[in-house]
Symmetry: D3
Subunit: 341 residues, 6 copies
Amino acid sequence: MDCFADVQSYSVETKRLHSATHDEILHGCTTDVYFVKTRDVLRSAGVLSSPVTAEIFARKNGIFAGLDEAMEILGGKGLEIDALREGDNFKPKEVLIRIAGPYEAFGMYETVLLGMIASASAWATAARACVDAADGKPVLCFGARHVHPAIAPVMERTAVKVGGCKGASCILGAKLAGMEPTGTVPHAAVLLVGDTVELARHYDAVMPLGDPRMVLVDTFKDEAEETLRVADALGEKLAGIRLDTPGERGGVSPDLVREIRFRLDLAGYDHVKIIASGGLYPERIRELSAAGADSFGVGSYISHANPIDMTMDIKEIKGVPIAKRGRLPGRIANPRLVRVK
Amino acid sequence: MDCFADVQSYSVETKRLHSATHDEILHGCTTDVYFVKTRDVLRSAGVLSSPVTAEIFARKNGIFAGLDEAMEILGGKGLEIDALREGDNFKPKEVLIRIAGPYEAFGMYETVLLGMIASASAWATAARACVDAADGKPVLCFGARHVHPAIAPVMERTAVKVGGCKGASCILGAKLAGMEPTGTVPHAAVLLVGDTVELARHYDAVMPLGDPRMVLVDTFKDEAEETLRVADALGEKLAGIRLDTPGERGGVSPDLVREIRFRLDLAGYDHVKIIASGGLYPERIRELSAAGADSFGVGSYISHANPIDMTMDIKEIKGVPIAKRGRLPGRIANPRLVRVK
Amino acid sequence: MDCFADVQSYSVETKRLHSATHDEILHGCTTDVYFVKTRDVLRSAGVLSSPVTAEIFARKNGIFAGLDEAMEILGGKGLEIDALREGDNFKPKEVLIRIAGPYEAFGMYETVLLGMIASASAWATAARACVDAADGKPVLCFGARHVHPAIAPVMERTAVKVGGCKGASCILGAKLAGMEPTGTVPHAAVLLVGDTVELARHYDAVMPLGDPRMVLVDTFKDEAEETLRVADALGEKLAGIRLDTPGERGGVSPDLVREIRFRLDLAGYDHVKIIASGGLYPERIRELSAAGADSFGVGSYISHANPIDMTMDIKEIKGVPIAKRGRLPGRIANPRLVRVK
Amino acid sequence: MDCFADVQSYSVETKRLHSATHDEILHGCTTDVYFVKTRDVLRSAGVLSSPVTAEIFARKNGIFAGLDEAMEILGGKGLEIDALREGDNFKPKEVLIRIAGPYEAFGMYETVLLGMIASASAWATAARACVDAADGKPVLCFGARHVHPAIAPVMERTAVKVGGCKGASCILGAKLAGMEPTGTVPHAAVLLVGDTVELARHYDAVMPLGDPRMVLVDTFKDEAEETLRVADALGEKLAGIRLDTPGERGGVSPDLVREIRFRLDLAGYDHVKIIASGGLYPERIRELSAAGADSFGVGSYISHANPIDMTMDIKEIKGVPIAKRGRLPGRIANPRLVRVK
Amino acid sequence: MDCFADVQSYSVETKRLHSATHDEILHGCTTDVYFVKTRDVLRSAGVLSSPVTAEIFARKNGIFAGLDEAMEILGGKGLEIDALREGDNFKPKEVLIRIAGPYEAFGMYETVLLGMIASASAWATAARACVDAADGKPVLCFGARHVHPAIAPVMERTAVKVGGCKGASCILGAKLAGMEPTGTVPHAAVLLVGDTVELARHYDAVMPLGDPRMVLVDTFKDEAEETLRVADALGEKLAGIRLDTPGERGGVSPDLVREIRFRLDLAGYDHVKIIASGGLYPERIRELSAAGADSFGVGSYISHANPIDMTMDIKEIKGVPIAKRGRLPGRIANPRLVRVK
Amino acid sequence: MDCFADVQSYSVETKRLHSATHDEILHGCTTDVYFVKTRDVLRSAGVLSSPVTAEIFARKNGIFAGLDEAMEILGGKGLEIDALREGDNFKPKEVLIRIAGPYEAFGMYETVLLGMIASASAWATAARACVDAADGKPVLCFGARHVHPAIAPVMERTAVKVGGCKGASCILGAKLAGMEPTGTVPHAAVLLVGDTVELARHYDAVMPLGDPRMVLVDTFKDEAEETLRVADALGEKLAGIRLDTPGERGGVSPDLVREIRFRLDLAGYDHVKIIASGGLYPERIRELSAAGADSFGVGSYISHANPIDMTMDIKEIKGVPIAKRGRLPGRIANPRLVRVK
């Protein structure tokens, strides 16, 4: 399979899902077709293998990510690559990646490269904002349900490894970040068992000893009441309760967190942690943290992060500075770039 | 490989890219780990195979999409599925998919299902808004470069097949939509050849006869000048010119389109179409269309579309209406649902 | 006691509360002292008993109220009084009351008269807005706790008799409006008894048969759970439940009302009414009514209503039109005025 | 008369005014009827005399007032009362009054207590803001005409004694604050006499020697002209002139004050003070003070002050911390509270 | 004197004022020097007398004016001129004047032509807006004091003749519009005479019989008082009073106009008109007219009108359509243009 | 010709343009007619030659200008004149000019004086703001085309001499400021020659040696391309290029300036300056300067400057302080005033 070699004969009939496989990505099937035409035209013009320098930049501030995957595309092709490191912050129009080498060795991957960097950098930037807001308390990435499953692990891996989250619930995402996935049980489980305390007892019975017992307390009863019921049932074994109150009941507010903390302490359960989740964003994390929340499950703020669009410009051809109208010809210096091996 | 069966033994060491493969998705590796725990707890409680009814809904208006892929997950498991049709519009809290059957047959796929529907519906909704704004003129989806390549084809397929776009440049996306990809050549090709007219001549020489000659005219020279140079060079063979003027030169404005149209007509080239691209959105499409643009290449408006978050609620267990706090117990009627076979 | 006769000798030493008694009001003790000086100066100038015409007006729209009390001041003094009727709406600068007679017979009561009309009209206007928003469903005035007890009955009497509320909880207020006070029991009672259902049973046991059983359901447990517990306990005898959810739990929202209604109906309790209270205002009443609420307890929107400031101008002296700078001399016609007997 | 003892037999037929008398207030006639029902229910449940702790708080910043009257209700019942001092500032949710003792000794007065504190604290807060803005120059409270006469003295007493005003025009209000009422004569007197200078002469002839001569100068003529006519007529005896220009003539502006001051000084009348009144509020007081005004008559800013709603929560029953949903159980420490004897 | 012929030798030493004389304007001394250079360059290039078509347009809506003066520049040179008529409204980018003929015959006057049209059209547009707002009542142009005296007559002539004003106070402006100037006497005269009534008597004695007696009534006393003093003094001979109240006294408000009208009518002076002036603008004119004002003196709204910038584009050279980048080549049709003889 | 002597006989029939000549201005023909009436009335009242003091002030901040012309009116009449110096900044209500002497010697010139000062001060203030923004780089005044030619030289002279501009293109304006006019050639010249480079060659051939070669580069081609073509053609002789890009092509943006500078430097043309023009205002000047622009041609920001309205008040008559209502009687001290000889 090589979409570059023969676009037309490539068939999608046997695909079950619509997302691209690794082979399809690596063989150019997700690239824009005009790069295929470009190859044919440049070959006709005799310039397909001209040595060029290209630079990638964004128009916003952000945290750089996606290089690992990008190097799967760029590596092993004899190109000279300089780039920021994953996790570095960047400014508008700063050069993020510089590629030097024959155009034909990488030109057709422009679509793929920009897409990888744009989305990963967006997730890293959003995750970092949450992590900064939590100021040392753990942030967990729970965003898989908002995005297509093909990229859920890319997002969660980036949020953890680059953004600084302390855990992820997507199995593959966590593993890519080098850890085991974390999470407890959802509302559905409570509903099926029919009572939160009963659910908590089954959970306690089934889970391995080292696994912390975290129980979701907003399914059937008021959170204050349910929290104490669960704490009474599990006692010292209860590690934490999770608040995920729906918007229809006012969501997870600072007042709610403060009250639950207060009631837990009053009843002698100061060892029980409070995990907050549900539509959190940096400012909200700050408020809930001040009210006593101990950790934060963040979903849509990270998974909805708008891609930080990337632009790749040809800046030199055969050593001569050039640029399209509107851009500065030649290499733009950036001493923070590091040669990628 | 079955992440459900044994989460811990699953290894990511041999993966080159971070995106999930079809097998990984179908075997639950991108699901949130708490559904695995849920399975163990429910089995312990003896309710894992209880018959339930679950409903999926959103909190916004939108265009429904993603069902095709979702059925790859849900199909063949003996479940009763009722759903809107791809392309149907929907309202906040309207039931979009109803699933009836044993919880264990689908519960663990909640993350995957919601992610598919949320992102596909967002792309369909954004594409439809552009198509409506173009009011019959063709809209092309050029958004692949803004998203991870694993989902670029899902997005472009959805934009075309559900949203109503008339073409897509991502090879795989177009094929999934049942057509050949469309597009011409990018700025990089013009830069490498060194002159737009020379590039146009090579392009004309190389491309198959039926392929419409569309030339990008904003790389080196003012668009008005370059347009006429290209038209003079290709004459009747020139199908259209593409305006993609960078923001540094004022972008593609109604004034620019109006002038190019005027100058083309004045020179006798009324057969040459104008394709506009670059940061287009519905209101801008309306303005450019009124100014004389003939078709529209849309990228970030579609690819940046925020996922329309989906919620799946258990609404019946063993035929008895139930719901978590904040939701209405039992099935919510929706006569627009259709049984999916 | 006559403050007019001898301001200086009047002593407040024996007063327990600070509010004015009826005698103090009727004898001028709450008037501004400059009217006392005015009397002395005018007597010296020989014009104290000049026949004058005075007119009272506001600068806003509103509903007219307070005339009943005002006539206690103006009646029996040989004055000619024309006025709107309590409950009439009025426009800015429209004449609301016209007084004709010797200045000394009423001049000193300007402070008192304007105060009565200003505050009563404000309450009537606010109450009417709520009643209009409820569109036929009953509105109850629960605002006594926001104002000084001396005027709580004036406010509630006005809200009912002029504004159109269907009940009031302040004992004296309801009686002045010609009805018995309404209300159930507050959170404090539930807290003391320790359980809402137990409280409901005591309430049912103690109250006279005709008294409708209305139970507050947000003290200890989630409203959905508590509502059904109470309904199960009292069955047919339960007339309604009251939702007064605190802001810390999201307040009384349309979503909450809709869900409680839905769950009551699902359980066969369609005869149970929903009374909503807590920070209601006209737009909120409309939303909650649409969501299924049956009646509305309104407090601060009525009791906080800003006084509609009134101005009293001398417009004729001895039959000659006159006015201070900025006002129109002479009587301003208003055919809606009615002679008050 | 005891509304608690027998609500139904209490009759309002002989009342002339609608405001509550002291007896009615002290005997519970202005309380909400549900506290009467509460008593009956709690007695039936056997918990009427349970020892409880209740706390009163607000949700805004403010200046605390109303305690004097509240103690008329609470005193002599064997309760333990801790409270801020009148005039103390307070923060949202800070405990303002803590009451400990048998519920039946004070529970029924919740409506009355909250109403007293809510309105008095609002007036004190507004008055203090004006006093602060005047920065040492005297502020006089002229707000009686905007509120019901029954509470006018409560308001003016609070504005002076707690808020820091230097005078009040309401006779009873001033006396409650321990001073004689202040004020001159209104527009009506000028109109009746027919000329400001003639009025000033009568005023000067009639008033006691020590009484400062203050003359209102905006009734018939331009303020600049009238000021000098009055100053020429009374000379050294003129203490001040009052500007109360109606909105129809531009109100009392900094420009007007500056000019009057300038013209007075130019004519050698630097001893004549300028009193400004008419819709003043703190920012306006600052501007007029900078322009040369010497004192300020404030009406509606104080009298319209929105009640600062108070909440009374049961926080302990028989020594055990408790609270309704949304509140923190048990006493909330506040070291600023002082035991009230 | 011919600035075109020899720029450098032209000397300004004998000029007393800085404004340009008619000769200087007609001989190019106020043109931009680059048109002189243009002439030299074009002569060198041999294209100075090429036949061209030029078009003048604006980018806003407006009322067209200035053609009369422009024709003094363009006339008699053998050019073909098509233009809108003075007083016609126009739209953005509509052709207002089309000039066809040898470039050297008019090119150097571009600065002068555009300046004349830009400022006159602005004044006409502003005056028309006031005239429309007055809806048939007369508007007088009093704006001379806001602009340099050299153009005061151009402005007032345009406001009257093109904009529709009914009078102007600038002597030369009125005469250019074909009428005698109108106006009464200013505050300075009242101050010098020392009393408005005395001034009115002198005015009445001195002025010709046919001249309407209009008296300014806000110099010393309140307008209401002064109006009646003047009316009593002049009786039937008084034609009107003018209100020009300074901002320091609230300006001329609808309330003031309404009161003056009311007091005049009450005293039997319904024949006395009210002329309002002082910072008027269309919306204010509407309000004052509704309040009873009879005519309006407008100054800064007309004289401050921002020039409606004009652009002159070469659109044909030797019959061939051409245009600079950003403009449409060739003549733009406008059927409303009329050939100017 | 003396409009004061005989208004009615003055005829405008022979005037070709509408602007006033110097003689007309100096003889009162542009004054408001009410000053003529004033003279007649004051003469009748015997106060025409009373000694008075008048003061001129504004209500805004600004830079003072116009005194030179004003002294042509006021000089030689035996008046005592104190004034700020041209170029001084001033504050609201600060005295700018004080005139002492017989009223008849200057009263009739009020309209003329205020008009001169109001417009000149506005231009000076606007020019100074641009000069300050350019922070040492030259600002040129190009505004003649936006105003009537009669005042174009007044404006440009003021912008240069008082405002600090370094050049002006209006021939007369520059000469009044004591310098030769500056400027190159307009778009029309480029259009007529047909190519910018050819135009540049003719320009170079024709112009005197000392004249700096500045070429406009946005007529036909993209600015980046045209700049380098011109630089290649003229080499060392090219002094600068002017950017005046039309709004239809995005105007002159910081991005454009930065790129042109970059491309010029890259090609070795660092001696070539960049002149920016087209709708510039202070903030834009700052941005373009930071991006590398070397000088700035400003038009409408200066020529559209709203007149800073001036007021002249009589403040003393025969040595006695006086003022109309709303103003402070007598001289207002201003130590910055200087006696004008």
